[in-house]
């Protein structure tokens, strides 16, 4: 942050080294895996400690049992495990129902995580994915419940509308950043609350939107044509995940194969140099925040049209916040987002089975998630644990800092 505010080029808040990870790709992958392993191991220790606190005695086998149940609840059909009988039908290895749930959680996580990662690339920290997600979901609900079009065009229109709604919500911090130098982190934190409160009001007390028959206040449900169709038969998996994968590819292409993407990444690495080279940094900031908002909004729209159907006034979702963890673990790389979203989605989808198997609150997975990104944040410390990689760290950071 600079004292000159708007006079300085925008996008200088983030240290690209800490975000995108310094060093080569091999080193990044190694530290990421180490972070995940450490998070999972510490989570296991926590399970043992919690069992002690519960007065169940020292149960060293409990973490393994819990993690197995987690895999079981998220995609696997493990044999010889009592509580999974109802999910697996024909003795295959993949439990399609469970996998469907995982993919449904992965859809909004991928899109919102992509939103945060995209912001990172331009050196902007989009904490506002949550608000943009909510706006996208609400707009999709309104468009989806209004009979404008029929057939598959309606769902496309609703998704696009949700994306535009999110983009509008992301445009505000982008504009304030470029025009007045207002720090996007604080503005987006505030906008998250504003979005939640205003949408809560619209969905609960405005007859234009509220579903009169719903007991808990929510908007009207999206019409059948506007809902995302089921992708795998006999499961809840909707087409949203394919939309998410397509979007990931589009963003990857934009970032790494177009001039605009090059400009965005240049601003992210060194905004002063980018400005000196003639890149319109203010324009890039506004555009990046709008696109990031659109991605989160698309995530909200997919979640709404695929899962919740009507926008609940008290939409208690955390996808927009979990997205930050997804983007961090992915080192802000679109392809990495796919993997880290799947990991966190599996944790989430398997949390219930895990909690039942270990007789422990399901919130354990939130702690594991936090521990993993704690280790990602403390990457420098992790690197000291990897002796084979220590020598490589000197060259790359110097290049990035130049």
């Amino acid at each position: 942050m600079t004292a000159e505010g708007s006079a300085a080029p925008t996008g200088m808040n983030l240290d690209p080294m800490t975000l995108l990870g310094s060093g080569g790709r091999r080193q990044q992958i190694a530290t990421t895996i180490l972070a995940i392993v450490l998070g999972v191991v510490l989570g296991g220790v926590l399970i043992i400690v919690a069992a002690l606190l519960q007065g169940r005695g020292f149960l060293p086998g409990l973490p393994l049992e819990a993690y197995r149940a987690m895999l079981d609840g998220s995609f696997l059909c493990a044999k010889g495990f009592a509580k999974d009988a109802w999910t697996c039908k024909e003795g295959g290895l993949l439990d399609l129902k469970a996998l469907g749930n995982t993919l449904n959680v992965a859809t909004p996580l991928t899109l919102a995580g992509l939103s945060v990662a995209f912001g990172f690339r331009a050196g902007l920290f989009n904490i506002g994915a949550q608000g943009q997600f909510l706006v996208g979901a609400f707009v999709a609900a309104v468009v989806g419940s209004t009979p404008i079009l029929t057939g598959p065009l309606h769902v496309v229109l609703a998704l696009a509308a949700g994306m535009l709604g999110g983009a509008a919500w992301g445009f505000i911090p982008g504009l304030l950043k470029a025009w007045r130098g207002a720090h996007e982190v604080v503005v987006t934190i505030m906008l998250n609350y504003v979005a939640y409160l205003i949408l809560n009001w619209l969905a609960s007390s405005q007859s234009m939107f509220r579903d009169p028959s719903a007991s808990l206040p929510r908007t009207r449900e999206a019409l059948p044509d506007a809902q995302l169709p089921i992708m795998i038969p006999d499961t809840k998996a909707h087409l949203g995940y394919l939309v998410a994968l397509g979007t990931v590819f589009a963003i990857w292409f934009l970032l790494f194969r177009t001039t605009l993407g090059f400009e965005i990444r240049t601003v992210g690495i060194n905004a002063f140099a980018a400005k000196y080279a003639g890149i319109r940094t203010a324009f890039i900031a506004v555009l990046t925040m709008s696109i990031a908002g659109g991605l989160a909004g698309l995530g909200g729209a997919a979640e709404l049209l695929g899962v919740v159907k009507g926008y609940p006034a008290e939409f208690l979702t955390n996808y927009g916040f979990d997205a930050i963890a997804v983007a961090l673990l992915a080192r802000a790389h679109p392809i990495g987002v796919v993997g880290s979203a799947l990991l966190f989605a599996a944790l989430r989808a398997g949390a219930g089975t895990m909690a039942r198997a270990a007789d422990m609150p399901a919130d354990i997975i939130v702690i594991i998630q936090a521990l993993i990104i704690l280790f990602v944040a403390a990457e420098v410390v992790l690197r000291r644990l990897l002796p084979g990689l220590r020598r490589r760290k000197t060259a790359a950071p110097a290049a990035a800092a130049a």
Binding site: M1, Q54, F125, I189, L191, L197, P361
Partner: protein
């Protein structure tokens, strides 16, 4: 002011010469006049401000206390150049630990003492988290926003996990709330100042300490060696380092001391305002604290002002539909139609406006959020 006035009325002249004096006189005249004449709208507001709001002011203060402490936590961190968006998580953890300590200590120490002791456990928990934040952002030089985010997620998951593990299943009850000072009616009824005494002192010890800490920090920040060093480190760490100030140590001290305030905010919620804990209890108060800090332009008194304003806005959310507490007349009817959610959004919208610089731009300390590297040539 060419008209000669008698010497004993010199104070009148002085008031009328200063801009704020004139504004004050006009405000008093408008308030009293419009209220007395029962002018719709303005008069309703004046009547509310003169008659109904003062006796309720202590409730506004109660809402403002966690926000104010959150802002003080942010103040110490950001003045020394460390952005702290983990205030929310620190507050939440402190609230839970304080609740838990109070519940467990209750059988041992008895009613008021268990709560007093539990406050220190809450503070300690928040200090541990802020030490983590300090280590990550100062020594590891990780991105400070990421560090704060990690703390928030960790706190949300951790408190929910242990709350269900230890409290929900066992039906553990919190210890009784900290004793409040009861302001006698004779004092609360003193015209003009009674309500103010009531607002500040009709509170528990933590709430009252907020005002003490704000005053103390105001003096220390601008009049003490610590304050000068803190501000120097937050504005230009390289220069501070050159004259021999230990940048890392100053930042560590400030961030960990900031944890004390986050801890007090949390302890206030579970030991003074209520004696129970629920998941996500803080509900964004840490973030509103951050907003109050910005609103108050990174000063202790400004932050307190922001906290009081935002606390009042949040209280209005509750009282706007209660005739005995809300304004009367057409204003009252209008206020009752304003959706409560919009009152709730006031702090956030105001902060965005302030940040956008539409009404007086807010400019943070220059080195806010920038990790300091002793060896860099920057």
């Amino acid at each position: 002011m060419t008209v000669a006035t008698p010497e004993r009325l010199a104070w009148v002249r002085r008031i009328l010469r200063s801009r704020w004096g004139v504004i004050g006189v006009v405000a008093v005249v408008v308030l009293v006049g419009s209220s007395y004449l029962q002018i719709p709208w303005i008069g309703d507001l004046s009547t509310w401000l003169i008659q109904k709001a003062p006796p309720q002011a202590y409730i506004f203060v109660q809402y403002a206390v966690p926000i104010g402490f959150g802002a003080l936590c942010g103040l110490l961190c950001e003045r020394s150049g460390v952005v702290n968006i983990g205030i929310e998580g620190m507050m939440l953890t402190a609230a839970f630990v304080a609740f838990l300590a109070g519940a467990y200590l209750d059988p041992v120490l008895g009613s008021p003492w268990a709560a007093f002791a539990a406050v220190f456990f809450g503070i300690f928990a928040a200090m541990l988290l802020s030490a983590l934040h300090a280590w990550l952002s100062i020594t590891v030089k990780a991105d400070q926003i990421i560090s704060g985010t990690v703390i928030n997620i960790l706190a949300l998951g951790g408190t929910a996990f242990f709350n269900q593990l230890l409290v929900s299943t066992s039906g553990l009850q919190g210890t009784r709330t900290l004793p409040k000072i009861q302001v006698p009616d004779q004092i609360a009824d003193i015209p003009l100042v009674g309500w103010l005494i009531n607002a500040v002192f009709n509170q528990g010890p933590i709430a009252i300490s907020l005002f003490v800490f704000v005053g103390l920090l105001h003096v220390l920040l601008w009049r003490s060696r610590w304050g000068l060093r803190t501000r120097a480190v937050g504005e230009h760490p390289k220069a501070a380092d050159t004259v021999g100030i230990d940048v890392y140590r100053t930042r560590y001290t400030n961030v960990i001391l900031g944890g004390v305030f986050a801890g007090l905010a949390g302890a206030f919620l579970t030991l003074e305002l209520s004696n129970s804990f629920e998941d996500g209890l803080t509900g964004g108060k840490g973030f509103i604290g951050l907003a109050a800090l910005i609103f108050g332009r990174w000063t202790p008194i400004g932050a307190l002002g922001g906290a009081l304003l935002f606390g009042t806005a949040l209280t209005l959310q509750l009282i706007s539909r209660i005739p005995s507490s809300a304004p009367g007349g057409p204003l009252g009817e209008w206020v009752a139609t304003v959706p409560p959610q919009l009152f709730g959004a006031i702090p956030y919208v105001l902060t965005i406006i302030i940040l956008a610089g539409v009404v007086g731009r807010a400019i943070p300390p220059a080195a806010d959020g920038v990790p300091y590297d002793k060896e860099s040539r920057g």
